[in-house]
């Protein structure tokens, strides 16, 4: 079966400087892949390319095995980016035909636990609630791919945890291929099924894929986090341009 999302980005540069080189990975439906890396390593650029907001790159991005633009992509940004003049309900249905959206809005409000906040304006919402609205807005078009750009970095730890739970639930129920960009190894390990580590691409860095151990004990997860931090910390060499981590061993390709 073809994976839901196939990314193969060979080259992307800004002003003659390579920002992304040879980044390739797949994401299955119902799977969460976290993209991790220091700032400036091209994480957001990668996400914008997948979202179709930026098409100036060498390589290909396929959804359902095809390159057409008919696929629906849901996007959640670092800030909720809600329309301040619309209430929660209207924000979720933003840009859709008012008649088409009523029943799906009701279901989504329940799913993101905001049934009672339907008529609230964005200024009346907490950061966590606003981000729930943003997630519902991304889901209402039944996206094939859900992209999240550091969506929880401004939230406190408890809110972040409940939103991790929500992200896993919606990825499972809506069968989206979810890609989340984060700078936090702990978030990556706790939330994702796999972690993609982008080392500094501009300095000839590498891409590392790390599979999270499935029946993970707390200490196994801690080991995962340490492995990722070590990878981020290690200076790249010409030979380890792409390193694939799997559950128990890593090898150079």
């Amino acid at each position: 079966m073809t994976p839901r999302l196939q990314v193969n980005l060979q080259h992307k540069s800004f002003a003659g400087r390579a920002v992304i080189r040879d980044v390739a990975f797949d994401v299955a439906a119902g799977e969460i892949v976290a993209v991790l890396g220091a700032s400036g390593c091209g994480k957001s650029t990668l996400l914008r390319a997948i979202a179709g907001l930026d098409r100036q790159f060498d390589g290909s991005i396929a959804i359902h095995g095809t390159h057409n633009n008919q696929n629906v992509i849901g996007m959640v940004y670092q800030e909720p980016r809600l329309m301040p003049w619309l209430d929660v309900e209207a924000n979720i249905g933003f840009g859709l035909d008012i008649h088409a959206r009523k029943s799906s809005i009701d279901a989504l409000l329940e799913e993101v636990l905001l049934e009672n906040a339907r008529r609230y304006l964005p200024k009346q919402l907490s950061g966590g609630m606003a981000q729930r609205v943003a997630i519902a807005r991304a889901l209402i078009r039944e996206p094939d791919v859900l992209l999240m750009d550091e969506p929880f970095s401004a939230l406190d730890v408890l809110t972040r945890r409940s939103l991790h739970t929500l992200t896993r639930t919606v990825t499972a129920t809506h069968r989206t291929a979810t890609v989340i960009v984060t700078h936090d190894p702990e978030e990556a390990v706790n939330l994702a099924d796999r972690v993609l580590v982008l080392l500094n691409q501009a300095e000839g860095g590498a891409t590392i894929q790390h599979d999270i151990r499935p029946a993970s004990s707390k200490s196994a997860r801690q080991d995962d986090i340490e492995a990722i931090i070590a990878a981020l910390d290690a200076p790249p060499t010409p030979t380890n341009n792409i390193i694939w981590y799997d559950k128990h061993a890593h090898h150079t390709r």
Binding site: G30, E31, I32, A51, G52, L53, I73, M75, Y77, E79, R81, M83, P84, W85, L86, F94, G95, L113, L114, N116, A117, Y120, L121, P122, K123, Q124, L125, S126, G128, M129, R132, R141, L158, T159, S162, T165, L166, R168, T169, A172, D193
Partner: protein
């Protein structure tokens, strides 16, 4: 992957998270007096009292500074024979018509210039040059071209109200948050949809401010137009008072203009409050009582 169920505590915590309002700041000067007497009338009342005393004592010639009681009599007489109403009606309808024309054209031109690069290169330099002309400099030309009837008055008011609206439209459309526009682009909205669902509402605060300054200038240019050539209107009343040496008429016209200007602005503020309910702004003076 584990199926994860949202724990009920999450929901409860989120309910508790529901935002509190902006904390209310209390300034020492914010006394409770305002609840009983509108503070705004205190100063004018005091002024009227002092004015009455000065005039009554004969410290200033009464034909130059008639006491407020005389003004009240004059206003009452003008109101009784209907001329105050007629002048007010003439002036208000001129301002309204000129303002509607000028502000609409300002909105349209501003929208074009803000949203279209070609239109901006083509139109903006000319508008900026025209804006540099003091609007009253158009008067002789308008009189030559359009005579002394309604047309030159409306045109002058329209010119005066055009520029503030034009500038406000351009700047508020250009300042729309790029991040919100990106949301619309990602959702695949057409340019027309973007304009209607994002650019329009997002620029409303700036547009409302533009409307208010535009209307304010409208009253100014109305007086200019009526001072020059008119047989009715509050500006005419001013000229009439000067020519017949009746300072009381001049004062009545000034007071009527002040009240009308304030009234029209209050109406716009009420509209603004209603359409900008969603705005999340700091309130330095605490919640309104």
């Amino acid at each position: 992957m584990n199926a994860i169920v949202q724990s009920p505590t999450d929901a409860r915590r989120d309910a508790a998270e529901t935002c509190t309002r902006t904390p209310e700041l209390k300034w020492p000067a914010d006394m409770n007096l305002g609840a009983k007497i509108p503070l705004g009338v205190v100063l004018p009342a005091l002024l009227l009292l002092v004015w009455e005393i000065i005039s009554r004592m004969g410290w200033v010639a009464p034909h130059l500074l008639p006491p407020p009681s005389t003004l009240a009599e004059t206003a009452f007489a003008l109101a009784r024979d209907g001329s105050l109403f007629n002048h007010t009606l003439a002036s208000s309808s001129r301002v309204t018509a000129g303002f509607v024309i000028g502000a609409s054209l300002g909105l349209i031109a501003g929208g074009l210039v803000a949203l279209n690069r070609t239109a901006e290169s083509l139109l903006d330099p000319s508008f900026q040059a025209l804006r540099a002309v003091p609007s009253l400099a158009w008067v002789p030309l308008l009189l030559l071209w359009l005579g002394i009837d309604l047309a030159p008055k409306l045109t002058l008011i329209a010119i005066g109200t055009f520029f503030p609206m034009y500038l406000a439209t351009v700047s508020s459309l250009k300042n729309v948050d790029r991040k919100l526009v990106e949301v619309g682009l990602q959702l695949g909205l057409s340019p027309a949809q973007l304009l209607r669902t994002i650019y329009g509402p997002a620029s409303l605060p700036g547009l409302m401010t533009g409307l208010r300054s535009s209307l304010g200038l409208g009253w100014m240019f109305l007086v200019a137009a009526e001072l020059i050539a008119a047989t009715s209107g509050l500006g005419y009343l001013l000229t009439d008072g000067r020519e017949t040496g009746r300072a009381d008429l001049v004062f009545v016209a000034i007071i009527a203009l002040a009240l009308l200007g304030k009234l029209s602005d209050t109406l716009l503020v009420a509209v603004e409050r209603r359409v900008l309910r969603w705005r999340d702004v700091a309130n330095l003076q605490g919640e309104p009582k």
